[in-house]
Symmetry: C4
Subunit: 248 residues, 4 copies
């Protein structure tokens, strides 16, 4: 393993499901996953550092630094399912680095007996008016029924350009290791941070893990801000374009 892994604790987990939560298109996956982890009161148990992240430390409001990296968090879902989240501000800095990081995290997951791998991302349509589908991709066709019952749409052969970065690589490594993998992609324009699209992903995750009371916090309000501005833009208000940029 090329990465440096620093454990806060070594939780005992039973057949955990893994959810990848990293930045990407419209930050849809990261917002959804971070919120869902918070809902389940997830706790960090490990930090991952690597030459494949930017060589950088970030000071907090106390001027105490933390090194840029990724983190592993765990939580128990209401249905009793153990979950491991991969969280962080960055994906690997290079294609090679992304591969190595996914491989290293996979090694940790296998040691925990991971039973399923879920990756989160955005599905950029390039259109400001989007319908907020949650599109899916899977490592084997038999997984589609269950996902459709949770509200996921399957769009044959899409996305045409493939699923890139961590959201794709963890699916690939799942398949290589004979573990079920699925990707949830929130439809979004790709131009703005899209809390509305994240809500849709959270709703799917809520059904998957039997979370009855989905406290969405400030997400609906933030989503509404974008909706208002998008509508204005559609009414050809010449000022609204700038407002949209401001949100992005």
């Amino acid at each position: 393993m090329e990465s440096i892994v620093k454990y806060d604790s070594k939780p005992v987990l039973k057949d955990p499901v893994f959810i990848e939560v990293l930045p990407g298109i419209g930050n849809v996956g990261k917002i959804a996953g971070d919120h869902f982890a918070q809902l389940l009161k997830a706790e960090r148990f490990a930090s991952i550092f690597s030459m494949n992240f930017p060589p950088q430390v970030i000071p907090d409001d106390d001027c105490v630094i933390r090194m840029v990296g990724n983190e592993l968090w765990y939580a128990k879902a209401p249905n009793g399912q153990d979950i491991i989240f991969l969280k962080g501000d960055y994906q690997g800095s290079t294609p090679e680095g992304q591969f190595i990081l996914a491989q290293d995290v996979m090694e940790i997951l296998l040691s925990y007996g991971v039973s399923r791998i879920i990756t989160l991302g955005g599905y950029g349509t390039g259109k400001i008016d989007r319908e907020l589908h949650v599109f899916g991709a899977v490592t084997r066709a038999e997984l589609k029924d269950e996902m459709e019952r949770c509200g996921v749409t399957f769009n044959p052969g899409e996305p045409r350009d493939g699923i890139v970065g961590a959201a794709g690589l963890f699916l690939g490594f799942a398949q290589l290791n004979g573990i079920d993998g699925l990707c949830l992609m929130g439809e979004t324009s790709g131009y703005f941070v899209d809390h509305g699209s994240s809500i849709k992903i959270i709703e799917v995750l809520g059904k998957m893990f039997s979370v009855d009371d989905l406290d969405l916090g400030e997400l609906p309000e933030k989503s509404e801000q974008l909706n208002v501005l998008t509508e204005k833009a559609n009414q050809q208000d010449p000022d609204s374009r700038d407002d949209l940029n401001y949100i992005g």
Copy 2:
């Protein structure tokens, strides 16, 4: 070995010939090799994954993903000769990666007792009117006679800029390992996908492996499309240039 190799099966092969079939100039080699493998009813027996390919998975029409990589296929030629094909959508992403991948595949080939290495490619002339020669390069001069009998032309010192990427590297590694290697380069303009040039390579391969009935499928028709447009371009039809771009 840096690559990850996943076997579907481990076929027993006798002194197999290796044919490299990857994207390149005019996609000439890839179209020819993929068609020839299909003619011989080749079957995949291994997949190769690596940090040296794009970090990406591709969904099929069932939304089932596959990780970007290269594949090894095998077939038996009508003359009884076992063949291993290297197929894929990508060459390595960097020069270093191309070297490492070729080295890793070479290690597999040596374990199979590979007896000969053939690489396929395009030979870009920069001229729209091309003659569709199949040009050759070899790891030792004694191989030229046999190839000439199969329709290959030798153009002293050509290509001047060398043979780059997998088509070159596998020749080099063949030579390093004392294995006979030859490169078939289909003459092409370099501007368009050139099915006509691929047909010429298939004809050479057909002679080499005693394939009497060369079913070319849709290739002649696709080739004709380019010929028609090329002729139009030569008659200085001002619209044809766009048509040609459309095909490319």
Copy 3:
């Protein structure tokens, strides 16, 4: 260890403090650290060479070359504290290289039982009129009191973009290894080499290590040159901009 380390001597050091002194914003950290090392009559004890530095040798006035790299120097402060300095003309050439180099130096430092890690840098404000604060960042909040007593200012959450390169990485590795780490950042415009800002860092170091007689040598004079030109620039003298460039 990937780096090549060449020892001039292996000094016996007691719980040494490490000070990182490499080029960066306004060269503030390098000028300060090099001057402070000279004040304490530091001596070189090791040179570090690596593929992560430019592939280059530099001839001196005798036409005798030295290979580009980093160097370790040591000194004893007036208060009896052993200090190791990391000096050099270059940081690693790539992000990955910077990480590897910091990791290798850290390994050496741990073998010396390093007790504290101090990194020096500039804090670019983008404003020509700067106040010459020395801003700080720490690996744990308890270190702030002592630093404030030495004249360091803490600016919550700053720098927003994080601390990059060696000055950041050594803090991060300190934290990972449970060693106290602190970063001193001299406020500067970021446009010019800023000896005035370096003086402020030297004054902080002087207090930390009980250096009563801080011989600043030519630094005040060089600092004054920039002040004069800055003032001229503020008086909108159209010629002064070029003068400033000349100094930079």
Copy 4:
């Protein structure tokens, strides 16, 4: 060792001197070294292949390929001195690759008990009128006297930007290993291939290795061509600039 080394033979050499002969400024070093190796009837004994060279093979006039790499040749000078030459069409493709290649070659040289390391290069002045000095750099000052007697000039602190690539790295590695190293840099404009400058280096090498009869072959004639065109250019013949480009 990361490189692949293929031996033609393993010559027995006594305290050999190493001469680095690779492409660089004005190709001065390569032309000089290749000619000198030919004068001494050098023979190739090893080829070096690596991911750090372009992934490429070159066909000869027989359409037999050779893989791009570097080569080791050996010869005996008239004074009985064994010499190893490093020859090739390329330096490493990246800074890291250049370092690794030099390190690997160094390992071979040390196994041969190399007694001295000489690197050849051009010294670009940016001026078309050049004086054709051979400038020197050394790993220790005591080597200068001997070199001055052979016609080498020492220009304190020059070249200011250092000596980069293989010509620099081998000097650095010589110094690291306590082996005498010297660099011969032929003065040249840096704009053209400069056979005249190469002749000057050959003359220095001739004195060093007691080669009485320096057959310069076609070099004086080729050098004269550049001189004629340079003179024309100085007489402000407007056509000559193009001619010069043609030669370059």
